[in-house]
Amino acid sequence: MLEVEGVNVFYGDLQVLWDISLKVDKGEKAALIGPNGAGKTTLCKTIIGALPPKTGSITFLGKRIDKLSIPEIIRLGIAIVPEGRGLFGNMTVMENLELGAYASDVRRKYNDTLEWVFSLFPLLKERKNQLAGLMSGGEQQMLAIARALMSKPKLLILDEPSLGLAPKIVLKVYEVIRKICDEGVTVLLVEQYAGHALENSDKGFVLENGRIVIEGPSEKLLKDEKVRKAYLGEE
């Protein structure tokens, strides 16, 4: 479904991603893990079209997307839940959701999509006229995911969905992510803390200093000594 091949990305003259290749298949849950500053968010931005790669190619559903604009990529079916959620605190829940559908061509089916999203997040329906900024951290994360779903994506990228949340809430977030996957949405999880991400995914990639250093089935990575040491906090 998504194929990243030999991608090199620069900020000005500074190279931040080296020869990245990864592949996510339809219906899969993939996890991208790595320490702070490894280039995870940069890779997300590159896939969504905010940062053009200097060399290499990105293919989505068999179509080259590395030269396309963000709205075009969103319309093809990729959505992102940005790091730090990126909600508009002064807008209502409803308005935030509407913005999620801003670029996509499913606007015609807007009401169906909204219903679908509300069925996944019943709480948001109750709170639809509340200002997003007044919600709790967990609720905000749910809203951020819901907003991304408003463009009816085939691939959902979640950048640090558990960041800053209490462990109990994180479990809830992952429950929702599993549900979304069951609905047929392919998921790319990007996490600094590897535990939940690997437990809830089929395969994983480890990004360090802008390079993919390890990849493989998540079960295998969970057992990998290096991964356990670096990302699961085990001695």
Binding site: K45, I48, A50, S69, I70, P71, I73, I74, R75, I80, P82, G86, L87, F88, G89, N90, M91, E95, E98, L99, G100, Y102, A103, S104, R147, S151
Partner: protein, 309 residues
């Protein structure tokens, strides 16, 4: 039923406003023309600044271009005045489109400085341009014959159009995108909002209104001088009208413009102190009511109006 009666009130209001020049004195007509012109320009300026995060300090470009184009086309090219006004509007919008490319790549304070510098460059160009009278200015003789009873209507129309434009923009998809840009441009970008197109469209629409304000203003005042036509004091006045009334609201600039015009007449009587007095009063209002007069009133009366009212 309820909604219907709301429209009736709006119709009555418009009827009163359109018949006003027939039964009020010359001075009031004059004052109302200024009120409408400042209102029209301040509505769009406030919308841009508050909701789209586009703080322009260069709207005087469009006041000047509107004024000069209208005067030059009708005086030197014999084009009917109404057509000159329309052409000037298109020209202003086109210029805004061109300026968008270099300027809208800048964000925040850099954009503000960029617009101001662009206005200065244009002012200098007009100061040396003999065809438009250069530093001597331009007297728009052809407009002497246009009475304020006539000028009143385009001024009123501009104010009404500007208010409706802001209302529609706010509730449109474009306005939605703009508000997300105003809140966080990067996130908006990530959601697929085409930030450049949104901002440029908004800037062009606002500049179109501002250009038309400049065009009607020159018909009213019949005199142009590069230093005053392209003076930053125009934009500062729009800012004043928007901020004192309540920036980003529709009702705010109505109050702001009324105060501004009243202050203009009032303080001119305090010989030698007018600038100082006006500055002090404005400062006092802004310190006492930092959100503007209208926001204070609507909060006090618990009106709970929906934005952007």
């Amino acid at each position: 039923m309820e909604l219907k009666s709301r429209y009736i009130y709006i119709v009555i209001l418009l009827a009163v406003l359109t018949s006003l020049p027939l039964w009020v004195g010359g001075f009031l007509r004059d004052a109302l023309i200024l009120f409408f012109l400042y209102l029209a320009a301040a509505e769009v300026w406030g919308f841009m600044a508050k909701h789209a995060g586009i703080v322009s300090l260069g709207q005087q470009i469009f006041i000047g271009v509107g004024g000069y184009t209208t005067a030059v086309l009708s005086m030197y090219f014999g084009i009917p005045m109404y057509a000159s006004v329309i052409i000037s509007g298109l020209l202003g919008a086109g210029l805004a489109g061109l300026l968008s490319f270099p300027l809208l790549r800048l964000r925040g304070v850099y954009f503000a400085i960029g617009t101001f510098l662009a206005a200065e460059v244009i002012r200098l160009a007009f100061s040396g341009w003999e065809f438009v009278g250069a530093g001597k200015g331009l007297i728009f003789r052809d407009a002497y014959g246009i009475p304020t009873t006539i000028i009143y209507y385009p001024a009123l129309a501009l104010a009404v159009i500007s208010i409706f434009l802001v209302y529609l923009l706010y509730h449109s998809k474009l306005g939605f995108g703009l508000r997300s840009i105003g809140a966080d441009e990067d996130v908006a970008c990530g959601l697929g909002v085409n930030t450049f197109v949104c901002k440029a469209t908004c800037f062009i629409l606002a500049s179109l209104i501002t250009t038309l304000v400049g065009a009607v203003n020159v018909i009213h005042h019949t005199y142009l001088h590069p230093t005053s036509a392209f003076s930053i004091s125009w934009t500062v006045n729009f800012l004043f009208v928007a901020v004192i009334g309540g920036v980003g609201t529709i009702v705010g600039p109505i109050i702001g413009s009324a105060l501004f015009v009243a202050f203009g007449y009032l303080f001119a009587q305090y010989l030698g102190l007018s600038l100082l007095l006006e500055g002090l009063i404005v400062l006092a209002i802004l310190i006492a009511l930092p959100q503007g007069v209208w926001s204070a009133i609507s909060r006090k009366l618990k009106l709970n109006l929906k934005p952007p009212l």
